[in-house]
Symmetry: C2
Subunit: 195 residues, 2 copies
DNA sequence: CCTACCGATCGGTAGG
DNA sequence: CCTACCGATCGGTAGG
């Protein structure tokens, strides 16, 4: 029980936790104060508005996802390797920063138009990296020639973005097996080869 | 501009619309009244509480999904056919009843424990139908022998449940092509056959 | 379905 | 970071 004062980072982190759990509109400033052991009104010495907190949480997630994509693409290998690295990196961000990631994915609509626009741009840039790998892998003859990079990118990200809703590290799959399972599903599907 | 009185069904429908758009906690009873052209307090001649509305919306979605799964399984054909029917039926519910479906998928956490439990049970029963088809198709030699029905069911439903976030009927894919694209992705993946 | 409210809670400010 | 508030809004009720 250390009871030093809270920093802005502490406040943002706790906000992420509550926003992810109950949603932005389901979290009051007094809830957040209680989480940190102080009065709701005291939060305003760290921030200017509740929406500021949402912006900070969401921005942090956006940065993490972007950095992950950059690392994945900087690694050596062909498009198949890059795709695996993108998947693994995405799951690392999603599972190691669940609160920020969930808030980024689910609470953007609570932002005002300008900030929401920035989130959508960030998502779009991130999605473009997936699309590029898929398109390049198709050109390189690694992926199917009839593959649609736009649709496929969306389908894959749908799978990835839902993982936090069901995956439990105590369960039968460890993180590597999870990545392999999703990669196998994406690459080979479920039908018998040549069926 | 007909201005007959609203029925309970009208109220539930409008609630679904707003809950899907802004979330349960992002919707006030006065917002909902405005949507229907009456005062927030007047809604209480139709309902007893705001949560009642959420329960109704979510229950309607649960019923639609369950009925869809039953129809899909009652149709003739093998497991591959049943899987296609499950996918097509799911997308019909999701896209023809977006508001109820979205609320069902995203706003369950706003329910109290008992009602949330019922939603989770409904989802679980629905998911079991998918698992059964996958397991039976594996036994029948239609799907891969190494297929994990639990994980695969989750991955497929992740894809399906995200469709309303990106699919636009005015876009390049009509509904049948959408079903085919998702079925192809699920069955065959993106790798070159024999790659 | 409206008018006229209720107590509770909301995000936020002033002043220390 | 606390105390003491602010006006606005919340879900909901009483009585017509």
């Amino acid at each position: 029980m250390t009871d030093t004062r809270n920093t802005r980072a502490d406040v943002v982190e706790a906000a992420g936790r509550l926003f992810a759990e109950r949603g932005y509109h389901g979290t009051s400033m007094r809830d957040l104060g209680r989480e940190l052991g102080l009065h709701g009104s005291s939060l305003y010495s760290h921030i200017r508005s509740k929406e500021d907190l949402l912006v900070d949480v969401v921005q942090r997630a956006a940065d993490l996802f972007q950095a992950s994509a950059q690392r994945a693409m900087a690694a050596p290998g062909n498009e198949r390797d890059h795709l695996r690295a993108l998947i693994a990196g995405h799951l690392d961000v999603l599972l190691d920063h669940v609160d920020e990631a969930r808030t980024f994915l689910n609470e953007a609509r609570a932002l005002d138009a300008a900030n929401r626009g920035r989130v959508l741009e960030a998502r779009d840039g991130y999605e473009r990296t997936f699309r590029r790998v898929l398109a390049d892998g198709k050109t390189a003859g690694i992926f199917r020639p009839d593959l649609d990079p736009v649709v496929t990118g969306i389908l894959l990200l749908s799978v990835l973005n839902s993982v936090d809703r069901w995956y439990r590290p105590e369960g039968p799959l460890d993180r590597d097996q999870l990545v392999d399972a999703i990669l196998a599903f994406t690459l080979d599907g479920i039908a018998l080869p040549g069926g």
